[in-house]
Symmetry: C2
Subunit: 213 residues, 2 copies
């Protein structure tokens, strides 16, 4: 028996992006945000994600400029970091401090999660950086608290914490008061490392597969 | 302003798992499959995922035994590999062949995707292994074709390809004819590396956080 299926990478991308444009009202978004929304939907297979999508009008430009300027990309988890397509960056360092040896002690001392404690270690690298959160609501909450405490501002916050405790709340807090930082997010419980990495890939290179054939 | 949110990792896990049990009909599943379904839902924040969940009754036992026997875990992407909690394994090798130098040439020669070509390199390691697919429908299709060609069988297939081209079809093909291999999957377009890694973490250790406090 032979299995029949589409094997051509270019055809797969083209059909995927065409399906997304056909099923989701992408063209209601500002042109700048469309590749970002398409990549988010592409990463999760859900066209209704667009209903929960919210972004600052300048988030793509600001994040893209930061990448072109060689600023670091700060990720809450290794899964996010490993989903970023490094060849489309400008040699930017992809930073995940979760495995730093100081994190477990810091988490116990502060009475918080390891992902939130890992954010504490971004202090001296956050200025002008691209922040990407694909897992932990506590990481986003902690970052917002640090900004309230006077930390320098990142260039953009790509916020996709996921789950049942704090995910919706942390993203609602960000959108209600982004502390002067451009952001993109998906409201509610949905999110995750694939969306987060896709957001970085979108702001770095758009939908390069559409023209790569 | 102080932000108020739950910071205790144990409390976050407990509340998450309790919400999932309250909102999804987890107890309709065989006891063996419940931790797997809970971790899948936990990874994506969607309780209705259970409607698309399908698994062989013996998939958890078979995958768990393979892990205890030290068999390799074969992943289609690095994102999947990086989401697996290695400390809960038994020293198993986590394999992703996508960056193997032979892959680009193989993909061009076979007229397929790089992820499908990477599966071709599993040939001598697949027997008794745990296969995990969190991204590419073509990787799952190619594995099924290889099994049809007489490859030795893996211990289990944890199948979560995602997206608009081939994801639903490849998972339907697996469920319709699993080639004698125990499997777990989520039907339709949904899937992804977070679910795939969560599935490995479930079969290796269950819901260890529930008892870790």
């Amino acid at each position: 028996m032979t299995l029949h299926y589409e094997r051509d990478p270019g055809a797969i991308y083209a059909a995927s992006f065409a399906t997304i444009r056909a099923e989701a009202p992408i063209d209601r978004l500002a042109p700048d945000l469309q590749p970002l929304a398409i990549r988010l939907i592409h990463a999760c297979g859900m066209v209704d994600l667009i209903e929960d999508f919210e972004a600052s009008g300048d988030v793509v430009a600001c994040a893209h400029s930061a990448i072109e300027a060689g600023k670091p990309i700060l990720c809450d988890t290794k899964m996010v970091a490993s989903g970023i397509i490094a060849s489309r960056l400008c040699g930017n360092e992809i930073v995940c401090t979760l495995d730093d040896e100081r994190v477990p002690g810091l988490a116990i001392r502060e009475g918080t999660t390891r992902t939130a404690a890992a954010v504490e270690l971004w202090r001296h690298r956050v200025e002008g950086a691209v922040v990407v959160i694909g897992n932990a609501p506590t990481a986003l909450f902690h970052l917002l608290a640090c900004l309230d405490d006077g930390w320098p501002k990142p260039a953009a916050i790509l916020a996709f914490p996921v789950g049942f405790v704090g995910a919706a709340e942390s993203k609602a807090e960000l959108a209600a008061n982004p502390r002067g930082v451009p952001f993109a997010t998906v409201h509610g419980r949905r999110g995750g490392s694939a969306m987060a990495a896709a957001a970085v890939n979108a702001v770095s290179a758009g939908l390069v597969e559409e023209t790569a054939r």
